[in-house]
Symmetry: C2
Subunit: 431 residues, 2 copies
Amino acid sequence: MESNTPLRVALAGLGTVGGGVVRLLDANRDLITRRAGRPIEVVAISARDRNKDRGIDLTRFAWIDDMRDLAGHAEADVVVELIGGSDGPALTLARQTIAAGKGFVTANKAMIAHHGLELAQAAETAAVPLKFEAAVAGGVPVIKGLREGAAANRISRVYGILNGTCNFILSKMEAEGRDFAEVLAEAQALGYAESDPSFDIDGVDAAHKLSILASLAFGTRPAFGDVSATGVRHVIAADIAEAAALGYRVRLVGVAEADAHGLFQRVHPHLVPVDHPLAHVTGSLNAVVAEGNYVGRLFFQGAGAGEGPTASAVVADLIDIARGEYGSPYAMPAAALTAERAADTGERRARAYLRFTVPDRVGVLAEIAAAMRDAGVSIESLIQRGVAADGSAIVAIVTHEGPERAVVHALEKLRGSQSLSGLPLWMPILG
Amino acid sequence: MESNTPLRVALAGLGTVGGGVVRLLDANRDLITRRAGRPIEVVAISARDRNKDRGIDLTRFAWIDDMRDLAGHAEADVVVELIGGSDGPALTLARQTIAAGKGFVTANKAMIAHHGLELAQAAETAAVPLKFEAAVAGGVPVIKGLREGAAANRISRVYGILNGTCNFILSKMEAEGRDFAEVLAEAQALGYAESDPSFDIDGVDAAHKLSILASLAFGTRPAFGDVSATGVRHVIAADIAEAAALGYRVRLVGVAEADAHGLFQRVHPHLVPVDHPLAHVTGSLNAVVAEGNYVGRLFFQGAGAGEGPTASAVVADLIDIARGEYGSPYAMPAAALTAERAADTGERRARAYLRFTVPDRVGVLAEIAAAMRDAGVSIESLIQRGVAADGSAIVAIVTHEGPERAVVHALEKLRGSQSLSGLPLWMPILG
């Protein structure tokens, strides 16, 4: 079923990942040829700056000045897009490549989150491969795990640690007892966080990935707009310490769940029990859990970003294509994906952690406790602890399982209260 | 690229897993049809006892008395073999099914470990699918993970917890401080261990799985005969306690490594550092780690046995076949697999744990220490601890990194020594 005809690749973008793909194809050339059944060869490249030194000999590839010309490049079977951006040149290139009857491989989570359905429909119509393993969890084959490995299962929930920057920061806060801003600055200095880190730390990047996983897991149409995303900016060292005292670690977890209430998709800091595998995911690792009705709980972990891991996933997609082992990008034809209404988060039942920063004054605890009572929130445990030189304290509460609506209601009651010296934080406890 | 023609399955064996496959295909029928692009239908079955009540309506399937007739069954596209055994009827069925031009799916690790190469060659010649995801780590898609997910990588090492029974026993010994025999008896009562448990607890089952993973990871010809297997029988509660005190957990780990020294394959109890993901694999879970030159360390975990997880993997294989997404069973054509010589384990360098049970007598420690010195084993730490009412004690040693040859040599020097009141145990420390 294989031929010796090479799979010919046109590459758009020669940044970290693009360079990595070229280096990987060079370094593992013979092995890849054996595994893929035929060579995989880059034939054309396009990037912004032709003269930048990337430590790679580019003279052997056709240089294409205008990236849009890759779509129609006569020598290429597949275009690999590694330029990023949800719209603009990446999307134009995707549309034109597929329309030209070529395969398309991308690591572009933002584009797939926003336009994956349209592109999948186009690819299925054109009968060409569209693959995006590198878009979620870098080198970890979670898209393959859901699309194929767990394909026999009704998946009830898919969730995971989808942003390495946030996990790096939270792990470091945990290990060193330091606060967010300080650790972020260090992560930026080390190159683990962007100079404008908001995409990562506000949960947007994880939300892109979560919406892709949700479609694959549940057979639902991508609904990025319905993902609610809260990042890690407001987690303080004391939250991590209180969580630890209670037997939890704080992780930014994206959770998607499909049931009679609709499709729930949320990225939010969670308290994760220490005996849960996600609690042991440290540093910049990514991890994904899928819960299936026959397989039980599957857990995948590995490097979620970086040159090597991302290139590994891109080339794995190319090998699938070289082997002819590909089909509908979303595990089923795009037309078969169902539209689900977004779940009402108020209906969700969970235990929750709430933390209030409070001034050193009589009556503060009474007001918080009254708000909880009036909202119908049942308190499992409460700790008040002095933290600062100015005498301000924190009050950390763990609730019994109850509807999220009640917790939100309690926080609303306390909004603007003189009993709070800062914004409160609540986090669901991963069940 | 899909049709509505069902993929027609003949099923050999209706034990736990066979029944599970029928139940799964019933329960998730619509979903599987959407994902596979066409229905997957059991058309014929064969098992030992036609009249046994399995809680499944079997009247809708053709009942075939002689299992061998499934291979030639005119209505079937694929035969699923779930009867087990490395040779005998399972192997006959595999050969005949492939020769008849049908696909073959199996969960039979023993048969694939012994005859996988022959069957893969036959399947490639006949251009039919041969798939065995369920043979390793049950529901966890590790074969797919190596064959496809990590396909772009040169894999330096693949290792994992491949036997749920042993892990259940070790976890329980760890949690409850109990000894092996007692926990084994309980595992047998609970159905977690067979009445004849030797296949599991002596590491043979894990060795089957390891040899399959090694072929996939390294592109080497299956070499089950070269796997050295030592099980968990000789691990005592005190080993687990000493390991814990030193920051380790005891796990039965199968390790395969390919380098200039050849192909190393061993199943053996190991000390696993508590910050390694394998240390957190508890109960009957399985987990596999693959280390690739671009992707880094990939980690897969889930249920390694049981009706649901195993059926999930079998049906995942059927979905791949229904989609037409399959190729060489070992990631590359069987003819391209290389024959590697078995590595000399004496050359391996690692830190090691040694434990001696010693009588309460002067000079015991001196003899052990002298044997270590004479064999060139460098001691990092040593603890002597009284354990029993009769005054016997254990001596637990952790060595510096050194060649395994020296450790073996030291143990040889001490063989038959009056200073030992029982067989010593050594375990490599996972690095």
